[in-house]
């Protein structure tokens, strides 16, 4: 019996589920609260990412690639980057996509593309670039909707365990930081209530192409991201989550690739 259309839409095989979700976030957020820096800048980021993917994919794989992933990268850059200038949006989007083709080991790219692009820009151009710190308005409802919808989608695409592990770890470490520094625990938890973290949790740390293969190790890696973030936060690094993922993600990927390459392959003798 054919699957109901809604189930097909919300299934792991639907590569357009995540792009649809993030587009909804963008439209709802901007039309309601003006979360984007500007339509033009976000548009530039998306188009630049798509074009870069098309060109590089054609050159290096011989065919035009599926653009869902590039779209997510471009829109993530468009939402997350805050700059009065236009060039950071263009540069970040292009660098994000290029990183997939340049920074590869054994056919796998090491960094989540938008995480790479944003982290590099934040580090090298702090006088021109910041990240989204805007809120979802004053109401609890939009935040609840994003969390619920995001959780359902992530569950359907079988990545919920990553998000859940990270969020649980973040909260635990928030209380630990509060105990260590004496800051109110509410201030340590506060970043989790913002759209930046919601995008980070649902789209960056769960990226299938840049997470290790086994479920258990996915949880371990994202826990380590939270650990490194904790250390960075204790050292007052504002963009701790981005840098934590930047550092831990590819390290885990390299180890995963190493283990994968050492695993003995079974040869079945012909009968």
């Amino acid at each position: 019996m054919p699957q109901a259309s809604w189930k097909r839409f919300f299934s792991p095989e639907n590569r357009y589920l995540a792009p649809a979700f993030i587009t909804c976030i963008l439209l709802a957020g901007h039309l309601s609260f003006g979360i984007l820096e500007s339509y033009k800048k976000t548009g530039i980021a998306i188009v630049a990412a798509l074009l870069a993917e098309l060109i590089l994919g054609r050159i290096f794989t011989g065919k035009f690639p599926n653009l869902a992933s590039a779209y997510i990268s471009g829109i993530s850059v468009g939402i997350l980057v805050r700059s009065p200038a236009v060039w950071p949006y263009l540069l970040c989007a292009v660098v994000s996509i290029m990183s997939k083709y340049v920074l590869r080991v054994k056919g796998r790219h090491m960094w989540n593309p938008s995480n790479f692009g944003i982290s590099v820009l934040l580090f090298l151009a702090p006088e021109t670039v910041a990240t989204l710190s805007i809120q979802w308005g004053n109401y609890l409802l939009p935040m609840i909707v994003i969390w619920c919808l995001g959780s359902v989608i992530i569950y359907r695409v079988r990545r919920f365990h990553i998000t859940a592990t990270y969020v649980t770890s973040f909260i635990a470490f928030a209380f630990m930081r509060s105990w260590i520094t004496g800051s109110p625990w509410q201030s340590e938890i506060a970043p989790l209530t913002g759209p930046m973290y919601q995008l980070f949790i649902f789209f960056m740390v769960t990226d299938p192409k840049t997470t290790v293969r086994k479920k258990f190790w996915q949880c371990v890696v994202v826990f380590l991201v939270a650990v490194v973030e904790m250390i960075l936060r204790l050292n007052q690094v504002v963009y701790a989550p981005f840098y934590a993922l930047f550092l831990v993600g590819p390290t885990a990927m390299l180890i995963d690739i190493c283990f994968e390459s050492r695993r003995p392959t079974t040869v079945v003798a012909p009968v």
Binding site: F33, G34, E37, L56, I59, F60, T61, G62, R82, S83, P84, A85, W87, P88, L91, V94, V95, M98, S99, Y101, V102, V120, L121, L122, L124, A125, P126, E127, T128, V129, A130, S133, I134, Q135, G137, N138, L140, M143, T181, G182, S183, P184, Q186, S187, E188, I189, A190, P191, T193, G194, M196, R233, Q236, V237, V238
Partner: protein
């Protein structure tokens, strides 16, 4: 797929170059943006046409602002909450033809100062003698802003003082003293406001006044009922103070009409400016709000209509702390400058320079933000700003002061601030959730900006090169020709810091002209009167203001720089009453005192 490694190598090289390009861009922009950073007076005079000397002590104005000490439950974040109150306004209170300076203080029991111009380069504090010094007693709140306007048209400008506390109105008794008339006017018992201005919104010849609330008026910051008095959002806060519009009924009577005429906002207002933005002859009201969007109210003479989103100025929320207008392109149209917060590595809001879009006007006017394109965007934690032609070259320049909390130079509170500011309203609204500052600075010790208009659509920062070298936590800026020399001097009020008087030295090659207006059918202060000056094939419009910038008021005189060899064609005055008066070929290098014709 290409088998040769060459494409991948090429890609790698391009990738590396792109990754490093931000550093190249940063060097290029740094070199382009700054003029020489150390004052060399003769060089500044030759290159920029002017330089400043700070003369407050020599002039006898030894004023240091004190901040309030609020409820003890705010001790952990006191420096950032008790961080406003330094304000300055220019007035000729005794009508002797020399601008005087009124400065507010904000410590409990501290005194405001009224510096009377002694005509010899010095000032004398006469606030105590005049009865406008002792206004910050415990129980009545502390001063935040003072603006002047002749509400009864007797020729002497009266004082409206707004506070975190009880606002006050003082009648100027012919320059010999002031009488408190607050009770007769019916001002509210308590308002936590940082901005006010005088304007004649209904054109009846009597000055009305606007007060913009910041904290909610039901909050007594010295005796908090609870700690949930902070904004409920960093971008969408609507739990601030209400706005007031007092309509002058004549005979010393006022009626509060804000809600009746369509001004219903509870945003956190920090600055306001009234100007005829549409050429209707009535002053519209631009309101800059902290923790949210700016608001623009079109004035139809009886009611106000909020059009911020429609015009483009009120969509993206920022931290508005200044509203100043200036005809920066000499096209007879006002741009509006709003200051916000930018901190490298954390938050880049950028200041806004709202310029009317080509082809739009009247009720259909739309604005675009050209701050970045014109080079006036990044000003640190920006506060008060004023337009003025500081080198008399014929184009309006922009002076900006900045800096929030200057404590430990080596420790920053920004990380903790960014953590809480991104939180939900349930968290951010309660002061007890805010991390303790513990002596850390928050955008402290910032260099100021003086952006020189090159006349071709670009501004260049020359502040340090022309002698603006202080790094105090600046708040309020007022400009005035303090010594009647035909140049604009600058007075800056600093939070927990000294009053600064920057005396301007301008090359005499650049000429000037000034207008001092007096209304007859219009309000006597001539607030709202416009002068459009035509010279050398260009024209510039200016308007007498009842308060503009951040908690500031400039001199009432309108000062135009003319550049070299000016050929003045005419000056067209549009009075608030609607009358238009043309003065043919007014002489340059002169102050023209003009009374509205009967």
């Amino acid at each position: 797929m290409p088998r040769s490694p060459i494409p991948r190598i090429v890609l790698g090289v391009i990738f590396g170059a792109l990754v490093l390009s931000p550093m190249v861009i940063r060097r290029f922009e740094a070199r382009r943006g700054a003029a020489k950073s150390i004052l060399d007076a003769q060089t500044a005079l030759g290159r920029h046409g002017f330089y400043f000397e700070e003369v407050s002590k020599a002039a006898g104005a030894n004023f240091v602002h004190q901040a309030p000490t609020l409820d003890a439950r705010l001790n952990h974040i006191m420096p950032q909450v008790a961080s406003m109150g330094a304000s300055v306004s220019i007035v000729d209170f005794d009508r002797d033809g020399w601008p005087d300076i009124y400065v507010t203080n904000s410590g409990e029991g501290s005194k405001n100062a009224l510096y009377r111009n002694m005509h010899d380069g010095t000032f004398k504090d006469v606030a105590e003698d005049m009865g406008v010094a002792n206004v910050n007693q415990p129980g009545v709140g502390v001063s935040m802003c003072a603006v002047w306007g002749d509400y009864d048209n007797d020729g002497y400008e009266d004082l409206l003082l707004v506070k975190w506390g009880r606002p006050e109105l003082y009648h100027n008794d012919a320059g010999h003293g002031f009488t408190r008339v607050t009770d007769q006017v019916g001002l509210p018992r308590w308002v936590n406001a940082n901005t006010a201005l005088w304007f004649d919104y209904d054109g009846d010849g009597l000055l009305d006044f606007f007060i913009g609330g910041y904290y909610s008026e039901d909050v007594d910051l010295w005796h908090l009922a609870n700690t949930r008095m902070m904004p409920d959002s960093f971008e969408y806060a609507k739990n601030g103070g209400r706005k007031y519009l007092f309509h002058n009924l004549g005979g010393g009577k006022f009626e509060e009409v804000a809600e009746k005429v369509g001004i219903n906002s509870h945003r956190w207002t920090l600055a306001a400016s009234a100007a005829d933005l549409r050429g209707t002859g009535r002053q519209d009201l631009f309101v800059a709000n902290d923790y949210g969007i700016s608001e623009l109210y079109f004035n139809d003479g009886k009611r106000f209509r909020e059009v911020g989103e429609q015009t483009g100025v009120g969509f993206a929320p920022k931290s508005g702390m200044n509203a100043a207008v200036g005809d920066i392109f000499n096209q007879g149209r006002y741009a509006v400058y709003v200051s916000n917060i930018s901190e490298e590595g954390v938050l880049i809001q950028g200041n806004n320079l709202w310029v009317p879009k080509e082809g739009t006007s009247g009720d259909g006017i739309k604005y675009e933000n050209l701050a970045r394109d014109l080079g006036v965007e990044i000003g640190g934690w920006s506060f008060g700003a004023q337009f003025g032609d500081f080198n008399n070259d014929g184009t309006l320049d922009l002076y900006l002061t900045n800096g929030y909390v200057s404590l430990d130079r080596n420790k920053s509170y920004w990380y903790d601030f960014s953590k809480i500011a991104g939180g939900h309203s349930m968290i951010i609204n309660d002061a007890k959730n805010w991390p303790a500052m513990e002596g850390r600075s928050l955008s402290g010790y910032q260099p100021k900006r003086l952006w020189l208009n090159d006349g071709a659509g670009k501004f260049v920062n020359v502040a340090q090169a022309v002698g603006i070298t202080d790094t105090y936590d600046g708040r309020s800026v007022a400009v005035a020709d303090l010594w009647n020399r035909g140049v604009l001097d600058v007075v800056v009020a600093n939070e927990r810091g000294p009053l600064l008087i920057y005396k301007n030295n301008v090359t005499p090659e650049n000429q000037w002209i000034e207008f001092e207006l007096e209304g007859t059918a219009s309000n006597r202060s001539a607030i709202g009167a416009q002068v459009t000056l035509f010279w050398n094939g260009q024209h510039q419009i200016q308007e007498v203001s009842g308060g503009t910038g951040f908690a500031a008021q400039n001199q009432r005189r309108l000062h135009f720089g003319l550049g070299k060899f000016p050929q003045i064609e005419k000056a067209v005055i549009r009075w608030p009453s609607g009358k238009t008066q043309t003065i043919d070929k007014p002489a340059a290098v002169q102050l023209h005192k003009i009374k509205e014709p009967a």
